[in-house]
Assembly symmetry: C2
C-alpha cells in the first residue's frame, strides 16, 4: 500500500490525471430512421419466411430437442430447425425490453434500455499493439493491462471480453484466469467465457463466489454477458449454444450477434443482409427464450461489408451506418435492447482509424443502440487491440456522451443582461455570467490539444497518437486494484487453483 501510494504521488507530481469519472451515456435525441414502417414489416415477414422454409442449423442435439418440444420442425440429420412462425414470435415476445445488470461495485451497475447507451471494451482481438512494442500476438500481461485501462476509463461501462486473447495461457484453463482477472482487476460488469458447458459453468461459479450469491441470487439479475455469434449464414455452433443454454438458465445476459458482412457472409445488398440478419437474430433470441422465458438478451447488430477486391472486412464504412440504423429500427420493432459495435479497418492509429471509429460511433448513436461492444481500442477489423487507440476512443466517446448536456434556457434573463452590458464589439471573458460558469461550461478534453500552433510546436509538436501513448502509461502507473472482500478473494483463488488441477491440460 505504501509503495503504491508513493507511486501514485509521483505520477501526480508529473502530470495530473484527467477526469476519469464514471459516465452514463444518454442519447441527446431520438434515433433516426431510414426504412419506412412498410419496409420494416417486409424485412420482418421475409425473415420469418426464411426461418419457416430454409431454417437455421443448430449444431447441438440438446438445442434441437428443446426447439422440437417448443413446436418447431427439426431435421435431426441436418440439424436444421424450421421455425413455426407464431411459436417463434411468442418466444421472442418474452425477451425483456429493459433490465439491470449488477456489477461487483454497485456504482457500476448498468441500466439497460431507454435512452441509455453503454460503451464497452474491445473484445477477442488476437493481437495487441502499442507504439513502443509494435504489433504482437496477445498475451496475459497485455490482457491485464488493457483490462486495467478499461477499469480506469470512465467511458468504459463493461468489459465485453478479453481486449486481447492471452494466447500464452493454456486454452483449457485460460477461462479461469480470464474470469478471475476480470473479477479482481475491475469492479465493472464483464463477460463470462462460454465456449462449452464446462467453461460457462466455471465462470458462473466464480461470479457467485465474487458476488456472494447462491444460484437463486445469481438468477435475479444478469451480472455477466456472453456473445452468441451466429456463424452466418444460418448456422450456430454447438459449444456456443451450450454456453448460451447455461447462461440463459442462470438468468445471465446473452448478446445475440450474427456477423453479416455483406457480400461474404450475407447477401451483397443491405436489403438482403437485413433479412438474413433479422432471421438469425430472431432464431437465436427465440432459442434463448425457449431455454428460459424472460432471460435478458440483446438484439445484436453487426452489419458491414467486405472489400470486394480482397474479401477482407471493411468496418466503419457508410454501410456500417445505414446497416446499424436499419437494425436499430428492427430491434425497436421487437422492443428488445440493441447491441452494436465500433470498428476500424486501419492498420495503424492514424487519420483513417479515427474517421472509421467516429463513423461507427455515430452509427451506434443514431441507431438507438443500448450497448456498444468493441468501443475502446479495437482496430484492424478486429484483429488487433491498441493501447493508444483505447485512449483515443475513450476521448471520442466522452464527446458523444457530452452531447446530452442540455441547452438550458433557465439563464435567458441573465443572458439578456450580460449581452446588453457587453454591448456591440465587446467580449464576454470577464462578465459575471461567464465567471460563474467558466470551469464547467464546456466539455473538457483528455487528449485533444487546442493550443496555438506556436505553443504546440515549441512543446515538441507531439501528435495525438503519441500523446495517447504517454497517457496510457500514466494511467497504468496510477492504476489501483478495486476493493475486494479478502475472504471472497481467497475463495476465488482456491477455486481457480482446484479447477486448474482438475482440468490439467485436458482438452475441454
Amino acid at each position: 500500500m505504501a509503495a503504491r501510494g508513493r507511486r501514485r504521488e509521483a505520477a501526480e507530481r508529473r502530470s495530473p490525471l484527467p477526469d476519469l469519472s464514471w459516465q452514463v451515456g444518454r442519447r441527446a435525441f431520438a434515433p433516426v430512421e431510414l426504412l419506412s414502417q412498410d419496409a420494416i414489416e417486409e424485412v420482418h415477414d421475409k425473415a420469418l419466411t426464411l426461418l419457416e422454409e430454409t431454417g437455421i442449423e443448430f449444431m447441438l442435439p440438446d438445442a434441437l430437442r428443446r426447439l422440437e418440444a417448443a413446436g418447431h420442425t427439426v431435421d435431426h440429420d441436418t440439424q436444421i430447425v424450421r421455425f413455426d412462425r407464431e411459436g417463434l414470435m411468442e418466444a421472442v415476445s418474452k425477451a425483456p425490453s429493459s433490465f439491470t445488470m449488477k456489477a461487483r461495485n454497485p456504482a457500476h451497475d448498468l441500466h439497460i434500455g431507454g435512452d441509455r447507451i453503454v460503451w464497452g471494451s474491445a473484445s477477442s482481438a488476437p493481437n495487441v499493439m502499442d507504439l513502443d512494442g509494435g504489433r504482437r500476438p496477445g498475451n496475459e500481461a497485455d490482457f491485464q493491462n488493457l483490462v486495467k485501462l478499461n477499469q480506469m476509463l470512465g467511458t468504459c461501462g463493461i468489459i465485453c471480453g478479453p481486449p486481447v486473447e492471452p494466447t500464452d495461457l493454456h486454452p483449457s484453463t485460460r477461462h479461469l484466469d480470464m474470469v478471475s482477472d476480470w473479477i479482481t482487476l475491475t469492479d465493472k460488469i464483464h463477460r463470462n467465457m462460454t465456449i462449452g458447458t464446462i467453461r460457462a459453468e466455471d465462470g458462473l461459479r466464480m461470479i457467485k463466489i465474487a458476488h456472494g450469491l447462491d444460484d437463486e441470487g445469481l438468477r435475479a439479475n444478469p451480472r455477466c454477458s456472453m456473445v452468441l455469434n451466429v456463424n452466418s449464414p444460418l448456422k450456430i455452433d454447438g459449444p456456443l449454444l451450450e454456453g448460451a443454454t447455461v447462461m440463459a438458465e442462470a438468468g445471465q445476459c446473452v448478446v445475440v450477434s450474427p456477423v453479416a458482412l455483406a457480400g461474404a457472409m450475407s447477401p451483397i445488398t443491405l436489403s438482403g443482409s437485413l433479412i438474413q440478419h433479422n432471421a438469425e437474430c430472431l432464431a437465436a433470441i427465440a432459442y434463448v427464450q425457449t431455454v428460459r422465458a424472460g432471460a435478458p438478451v440483446f438484439y445484436g447488430s453487426l452489419i458491414s461489408n467486405v472489400d470486394m477486391r480482397s474479401g477482407a472486412p471493411a468496418l466503419g464504412t457508410p454501410e456500417t451506418v445505414t446497416g446499424s440504423i436499419a437494425t436499430g429500427q428492427l430491434a425497436r420493432r421487437y422492443d428488445i435492447p440493441q447491441r452494436t459495435w465500433l470498428g476500424s479497418t486501419s492498420n495503424t492509429v492514424d487519420v483513417q482509424s479515427a474517421w472509421e471509429t467516429m463513423f461507427s460511433l455515430w452509427a451506434a448513436y443514431l441507431s438507438g443502440a443500448h450497448m456498444v461492444y468493441h468501443a475502446h481500442g479495437w482496430m484492424e477489423g478486429g484483429l488487433t487491440s491498441s493501447y493508444e487507440k483505447t485512449i483515443v476512443d475513450s476521448e471520442m466517446i466522452s464527446m458523444m456522451n457530452a452531447l446530452a448536456r442540455p441547452i438550458d434556457l433557465a439563464d435567458a434573463d441573465e443572458v439578456m443582461t450580460a449581452i446588453a452590458e457587453v454591448g456591440p464589439g465587446g467580449h464576454f471573458f470577464g462578465t459575471p455570467h461567464t465567471m460563474k460558469r467558466y470551469e464547467t461550461a464546456f466539455w473538457a478534453p483528455m487528449l485533444a490539444d487546442w493550443r496555438a500552433f506556436e505553443f504546440w510546436e515549441a512543446d515538441g509538436a507531439v501528435d495525438t497518437t503519441h500523446r495517447a501513448n504517454k497517457m496510457w502509461k500514466q494511467l497504468l502507473e496510477a492504476y489501483e486494484k478495486p476493493a475486494f472482500d479478502a475472504g471472497r478473494a481467497d475463495e476465488l483463488a482456491a477455486f481457480v487453483a482446484r479447477r486448474k488441477e482438475e482440468i490439467g491440460t485436458t482438452e475441454i
Copy 2:
C-alpha cells in the same frame, strides 16, 4: 495540349485516378432536434427583444439610412440600430427558402434548399501546410493549387473563398487575381471578394464577362457568394456592409455569419449564444432584404466555444454539434437555407484532426445544413489550409454522401432465393446475386486502405496522411483547366490588366 495529354497519360500509367465525379449531397434522414418548439420560440422572442432594446451597430451611414427609411430606430452617433419587431420579421420573411446558383459549367449548378447539402472548400486561412513544405504563410502558388484540387474533387461543390490567402499579392489588386483565378481555374461556383464597394463591383463585372451576362442577366440568379460576418457581439463592419449591399442589389448570394465562440464573442452558455447568434442573423438578413427583397441569403451558423484556459477557439467539439443542431432548428423556423461549416483545432493532420472534422461533418448533417463552408482542408481553428487534409476531408464527405444510397427491397425475392441456395454455413462470394452487383454495391474509398496488415506492412506501412500526400500530387499532375470561351478569357484578362493599372498601389 499535346504536352498536357502526355503528362496525363504518364500519370495514369503510374496509378489510376480515383473516382472524382461530381457528387450531389442529399441527406438520408430528417435533421434531428434538440430544442422544444417552446424553446425555439423563446430564443426567437429574446433575440427580437435584444434587437429592439440593445440593437446592433451598423458601421456604414448608407446602411443606417436604408434601415431608418424602413422604419427602424437609428442613432447616427453610435451607429446603433434598434429594430422594429414587425418590420424586421416582414423583411426576414422575404428571404427565399430555395434558389439555384448558376456555375460557369451548368453541370456544376447548385440547387439550394430541401434535403440537399453542398460541401465547399476551405476559405481565408492565412497559412498553408503540406508534409513536404511544412507550415508557411499563404501565397499565390498554393492558392492556385488548392483551387485546382477543389475543382478536381467531386465532393467540393463550391469554392467558398481563397483556400489560403495569397499574401504575396498586393492587397489593393489581389481581389482581381483571385476572382480571375477562380473563373479560369475552376468552372464551379465561387466567391466574390467584397471588402468594400470597389472590390465587390470589380468581381461582379468579371463574372458578367465570364458568363456573358448584362446586369439584368446577372440578377436573375446568384452566381457567386460572399460572407457577411458579424463582428460578434452585435457589430457589422462598414466595408463588409458595402460589399453586401452591392451583392444584394445584384441578386447575388449573401451568407450571413455571426461568429459565436461561446465564452468570448457570445455568452458562455449555448442558450445565450443562441439568442445573440439568432439576433445577429436576423438583423443582417433583414438588412439584405431591405436592400433588395428576395435576395438569396443563408442563415449562417457558427457556434462553438473557446478553450477557457487559453481563450483559443475550439472547433469540432460537442458544443459544435449541439450548437449547429439548434441553429438548424432556428433556420427552419424562418425557412431560410442554413450555412454551416467544418472545423478542426488540431495543429497537424492526425487522429485529433480527423475526429474533430468528422464530428463537425455530423454537426452539419444532423443540423439540416444546406451549405457547408470550410469543408476541404481547413485546420488549426481556421489558421491553416492543408493539402493532405483537403484529400482526407474529401474522403470523409464522400462517406457522408454515400449514406443517401437507399436500402432498396426491390431485390427481396431474389435475396430469398440466394440465401436458400447458399444455405447454412456457405458464403455469398460467387452467387449470381453477388456477381451482378459486386462492382457498385458498396461505397468505394479513395484513400482508406483496407488491406490486411501483412500486405499493408510489406507495401511500406504508409499511414493515411502520407497516402493523402501522394494523392494530391497525383491529382495536381492530372489537373486540366476547364474549357473557357477564348473571347471571354481575353476580355477578362484585359479587364484585369486595365483595373490593375487604374488601381496601381492605391489603398482601396
